[in-house]
């Protein structure tokens, strides 16, 4: 058999390759580069890997990228400025300059700092209560059957109630004031933390728990070393969602009636038709929301460094 092939190879012209074997023949050999298709595939893979790498670390391209990312924002501000000057819109649009002027005026009278601090305190209080309870009860429900049985059915029953629908009830219960607002924000932030913590814990690969047990870790240390760190990505998602809804419910809460806070600034500006001051408050809302998000992203970068390990050589 072998000799037969050799014989034919000798007879055929030199231009015809003697081994037109299918490429699969050599592909299992590590480092095989005999077939052009294989080398091609390899280089393709390599470039994909470099591209992945570049997304994470290319500091050289950060400059132009930052410029590109700012372009949209600059365009919007330019459009805003143009709309304000041209008056094509029937409503009153203050120009960015006018908004800035309104901001500095409000700042000089101390209205910004004072009201901002009141609002931030409300959010912080509500968030600490609601998210804290969500984290604790989500952990209990994730870890223990009894916790799940106690907390999950009631949560499922009330989770579809919109926050805004609770406003009248909370006003009756707590009156118009900080207590009602704190309760509202707590209610809103509970859900995201509870749900994500619970599912984060339930989604942990039991094989990690089993491995840790086989290395002599007791229940408490399994929770500390395996369960909670494993659920952390989910918990952080829950925190980000909770921050967003906390902000949202603050606006709802402060829209009811308040004598201090950003919502007060907003309603006050509405009464005097001061669109420039209304814009100031909106810009503050946007800026604070952005800052919170950036802060949480940084937290994720630190806390989930192991997660980012994927793709970085």
């Amino acid at each position: 058999m072998m000799t037969d092939i050799d014989h034919r190879a000798a007879v055929t012209p030199a231009s015809d390759p003697p081994r037109p074997s299918p490429p699969a023949d050599t592909s299992w050999v590590p480092g095989a580069r005999t077939h052009p298709e294989i080398t091609h595939r390899r280089s393709g893979k390599a470039s994909a890997a470099t591209a992945l790498h570049a997304v994470g670390t290319a500091a050289a391209r950060r400059g132009p990228r930052l410029l590109r990312r700012c372009t949209g924002l600059i365009l919007i501000i330019a459009l805003w400025q143009y709309s304000a000057a041209d008056h094509w819109w029937h409503g009153n649009i203050p120009s960015p300059g006018e908004v800035w002027a309104a901001f500095t005026r409000l700042q000089e009278t101390g209205l910004i700092t004072g009201n901002l601090s009141v609002s931030l305190h409300r959010v912080a209080r509500g968030f600490a209560l609601g998210a804290g309870a969500g984290l604790a009860m989500g952990t209990a429900a994730g870890l223990f059957r009894i916790g799940e049985d106690l907390f999950d059915p009631p949560y499922q029953a009330i989770r579809m109630v919109p926050v805004a629908a609770l406003v009248p009830l909370f006003i009756v219960w707590f009156g118009i004031g900080d207590t009602a607002m704190t309760a509202l924000i707590s209610f809103a932030t509970f859900g995201p933390l509870y749900l994500n913590t619970y599912h984060g814990i339930r989604n942990i690969d039991v094989r990690y728990v089993e491995a840790a047990r086989s290395f002599g870790l007791g229940q408490v240390r399994v929770i500390g070393h395996v369960v909670l760190p494993g659920a952390l990505p989910h918990i952080l998602v829950g925190i980000r969602q909770a921050v967003a809804v906390a902000w949202f419910s603050l606006v709802i809460a402060e829209a009811i009636k308040t004598d201090a806070g950003l919502g007060y600034l907003l309603t006050d500006a509405q009464q005097f038709l001061r669109t420039d001051q209304m814009f100031v408050v909106l810009v503050i809302y946007a800026t604070l929301g952005l800052l919170a998000d950036v802060g949480l992203r940084l937290l994720e970068r630190v806390a989930l460094a192991w997660h980012r390990g994927i793709g970085v050589a």
Partner: protein, 263 residues
């Protein structure tokens, strides 16, 4: 398991042991009698008896679903529902098919997981050095290659100085070349530290390369118990090796042509 009068293998049986590959058959480290395990009335292990001697390397072969992983889990103490007499040492460690390193802990912290004392980092680093992974001690597990991860998992088992090392198809998930290297590493580490080893595998050659004894599990029983009396390091082309391979493959129900019948 409390055992009185443990032999100090450094002194009492050194001469005898070196001739017989350091096996001390008189003291079983693992002793299973009449072990049964069923899942939903399906019997996986039926009245199984097994002894593993101190320092002995036992390979457990079997087709998928033959109950070999169940047996390993029972010996590892991970299966509470098994019946029968189960005597295993307290100091035991498992290396799983998937490395099961916690992704949120750096490699050395994975190795040191659950170790007592303040010098746990030193112990972890020493163990990592033994498997050639010292320079990866601070890496995140997700950045390791398959072979590196298995070596780290080996270090995590070894750092506990186990009396019994349980290997659950630890080479199944790595590529063929890496598998050779990790197998050689396991052989070297076993000769250095001499734990009793129970290796679960479906690879007959792997069993014959590493083990003192090869068992074939079939239908919940040990169908075949073969002493592998080959000198180490083993040559997979030697006549005895090939004969043993034929025997074991036959026991596993794999039909193979007689050696020498082909070509």
């Amino acid at each position: 398991m409390a055992r009185a009068g443990r032999t100090d293998r450094g002194r009492s049986s050194a001469g005898d042991a070196s001739r017989r590959g350091l096996r001390d058959v008189s003291v079983p480290v693992v002793r299973l009698r009449q072990v049964r395990r069923s899942f939903d009335r399906r019997t996986v292990l039926a009245d199984l008896d097994l002894d593993v001697a101190r320092g002995e390397f036992v390979a457990l072969l079997g087709a998928s679903g033959s109950g070999k992983s169940t047996l390993l889990r029972i010996v590892a103490g991970l299966d509470g529902a098994a019946e029968g007499t189960i005597e295993v040492p307290d100091r035991r460690a498992v290396v799983y098919q998937e490395h099961r390193l916690l992704p949120w802990k750096r490699v050395w912290r994975n190795v040191a997981l659950g170790l007592p004392g303040l010098d746990r980092k030193q112990a972890a680093l020493a163990s990592l050095a033994e498997v050639g992974m010292l320079e990866r001690a601070d890496a995140w597990p997700l950045t390791l290659s398959g072979g590196e991860a298995q070596r780290a998992a080996l270090a995590r088992a070894l750092v506990r100085t186990p009396e019994l090392l349980l290997l659950d198809e630890p080479f199944a998930a790595v590529d063929a070349l890496t598998r050779r290297k990790v197998q050689a590493l396991v052989a070297a580490l076993w000769q250095e530290h001499r734990p009793s080893v129970l290796l679960v595998t479906h690879d007959v050659d792997e069993a014959l390369l590493l083990a003192d004894r090869a068992l074939v599990l079939d239908d919940g029983r040990i169908a075949c118990d073969v002493l592998v009396g080959l000198p180490r390091p083993r040559d997979s082309d030697s006549r005895l090796f090939i004969e043993l391979r034929q025997t074991l493959l036959g026991e596993l129900g794999v039909l193979v042509p007689e050696p020498g019948a082909s070509s």
